[in-house]
């Protein structure tokens, strides 16, 4: 379909090579396995393919068809038009990794802009060029901390309020390491101080989330002090949008900040591609995996950008590298950079405040209904857990009948929480949407 050769081209090329037929180029392939007939549907033209894909897509009910109160790590936000307009420039999306800096300054400087904005947003010294997503960024934090202590500290404390999928990914990544994980069975209602008894001089890393999986915002200053007193590191997984109005983790002493960058201008897209934020302190920069862009000069005396500290990476260190990562989420990092610069200092605050106010209005209205109450009294950003009078699965089925995508059923990950719903509210939810949700929830409680 995208092969340009004419019959004449092909003949001329075969002749230049010195073979008669195309098949002659494949003599090294074992004959008994050569040229299998692939059982795939026949080719489509572009017009037909678009039609087929449209039909498949039309089967889905989207966050435009439904009123969405679902979050749990992926959020329905407005993406300004200019973001996709930049992303669609072939110069960005059809370029490769900027290994040849003389012809890749666009990608390199955009990553440098990204690193600058992420460092400023998180309150950290340095950011890398990104990891795959919020979950794998946490897994990389574990590898980094373990390597930082050269394997001499083998314990990692995981908050039970860290996203369940992030914890699952951390466990998978460490199937072959001797790291011991503790903390996940702690009382969910307890605050971060419940983690303190686990922290000792064998602890490499303590991982918490901000806001946590249940939406709660805690001041981790005391936790950070205890972690550092034991000589360990503190890693905080963030929702980056919350940092426009809440104190950044750098302020309370985090050593590593990870995050899911999807809220920064990246469409929901059924779970990916998203963006793994990773930032740290200057002193740990060489322990951080992933690509990094640094500033330098060229031989004409101009300021320019280049991939740096590459000797840490797998293509040089091979089995001695602490991570096997090669790609970053280049285009998604670009999307978030365009988004952050378009909104800027005021716009980011504005949208974060909208999320905050709308979520608090929703929480207030819902908990005014009989049978509904907040699961926690801790401060929250745009997401909160609500105790419901019935199992969330039943309530959500009813909400869906009213074209409402209800909140996340916490019972899926936390046995005993079948009646607790995690509700996310963003700038996309109007007051009418929220009032509709409250009305339908009220019907449910009366059934």
């Amino acid at each position: 379909m995208f092969v340009p050769h004419t019959v004449d081209d092909r003949e001329a090329m075969l002749q230049a090579i010195g073979v008669k037929r195309l098949e002659d180029l494949f003599q090294d392939v074992p004959a008994q396995h050569r040229f299998p007939q692939l059982d795939l549907p026949p080719a489509l033209t572009e017009m037909e393919a678009l039609q087929e894909l449209r039909e498949i897509a039309s089967v889905n009910e989207t966050t435009q068809d439904l009123v969405c109160f679902l979050g749990a790590g992926a959020y329905n936000h407005y993406v300004p038009a200019a973001v996709d307009s930049i992303l669609r420039r072939g110069e960005f999306y059809t370029a490769y990794t900027p290994y040849q800096p003389e012809v890749s300054q666009g990608t390199l400087q955009a990553i440098f802009d990204y690193q600058s904005l992420i460092a400023a947003l998180t309150g950290m010294d340095v950011s890398n060029a990104s990891h795959y997503d919020g979950a794998t960024a946490v897994a990389e934090a574990v590898s980094m901390a373990y390597a930082n202590f050269r394997g001499k500290r083998a314990k990692v404390v995981l908050s039970p309020a860290l996203h369940p999928q992030y914890r699952q990914v951390v466990h998978t990544y460490n199937l072959g390491t001797p790291i011991q994980f503790v903390g996940e069975d702690l009382d969910l209602q307890a605050g971060p101080e419940a983690l303190l008894p686990y922290i000792d001089n064998n602890t490499a890393l303590v991982i918490v989330q901000y806001p946590d999986f249940f939406g709660r915002i805690y001041d981790y200053t005391k936790l950070a002090e205890a972690v550092h007193a034991a000589g360990a590191l503190l890693s905080v997984a963030v929702n980056p949008l919350a940092l426009a109005i809440f104190a950044p983790p750098g302020q309370f002493g985090a050593d590593i900040v990870t995050g899911e960058g999807q809220p920064l201008g990246i469409p929901l897209s059924y779970g990916g591609p998203y963006l793994g934020i990773f930032a740290t302190k200057q002193e740990y920069v060489r322990k951080m995996a992933g690509r990094l862009v640094g500033e330098t000069v060229d031989n004409r005396g101009q300021r320019a950008y280049v991939l740096t500290l590459t000797a840490r990476e797998q293509h040089i260190r091979r089995e001695k590298a602490t991570s096997n990562i090669c790609t970053n989420q280049g285009l998604m990092a670009l999307a978030s950079t365009v988004y952050m610069s378009l909104l800027g200092k005021e716009g980011l605050r504005e949208v974060a405040e909208l999320n905050y106010h709308k979520a608090h209005y929703a929480a207030q209205q819902i908990t005014a209904l009989p049978g509904y109450s907040l699961w926690s009294n801790a401060p929250f950003f745009n997401e909160f857990a609500v105790r419901c009078p019935k199992p969330v699965s039943e309530i959500n089925a009813h909400l869906l009948d009213h074209d409402i995508l209800g909140g996340y059923e916490l019972g899926q990950d936390y046995p005993g929480m079948e009646n607790v719903m995690l509700v996310a509210v963003t700038e996309m939810n109007s007051r009418e949407d929220i009032d509709l949700l409250v009305d339908v929830l009220s019907e449910v409680s009366h059934d």
Binding site: R150, R286, L309, T310, A311, R312, I316, R317, K320
Partner: protein, 130 residues
């Protein structure tokens, strides 16, 4: 290629200078030349550590390469070159002098007999670059 005659060498391009029961360890002129501009040095052992022959004691990085430095002998680390991480270029300019990496109190000086002398190391280098 500078290969001082008073040192002992490993095939992995480390040198050791023996002063009584103490050994001073670094990397050779050949090694620094192969790595080109050293941009980063990390000493990965601490004073007081017991190390075995073959254990890594330092990590070096240039722009395009990385290398670990291994102990030529076993013993107890009695000093590390604290200044070196701030001046990695010294590994290129003065590999046998100010770019020493660790000092070790040898637990088995007999291990020295397994190392190469200058002539044997020079031959080894010629084979490697040939």
């Amino acid at each position: 290629m500078n290969i001082p005659s008073d040192l002992k060498y490993t095939p992995n391009d480390e040198w050791i200078r023996v002063e009584g029961n103490t050994g001073v360890v670094g990397i050779t002129d050949f090694a620094q030349d192969q790595l080109s501009d050293i941009v980063y040095v990390e000493i990965v052992v601490s004073v007081g550590d017991m190390v075995k022959k073959g254990d890594a004691c330092a990590t070096l990085e240039s722009v395009k390469a990385a290398a670990d430095v291994y102990m030529p002998v076993s013993g107890k680390i009695i000093a590390i070159n604290e200044a070196l991480p701030d001046t990695p270029e010294v590994v290129n300019s003065d590999p046998y002098g100010n770019a020493w990496m660790v000092k070790v109190e040898m637990s088995d000086p007999g291990e020295l007999n397994d190392l190469l002398d200058a002539a044997a190391y020079e031959k080894h280098v010629q084979e490697k670059s040939g």
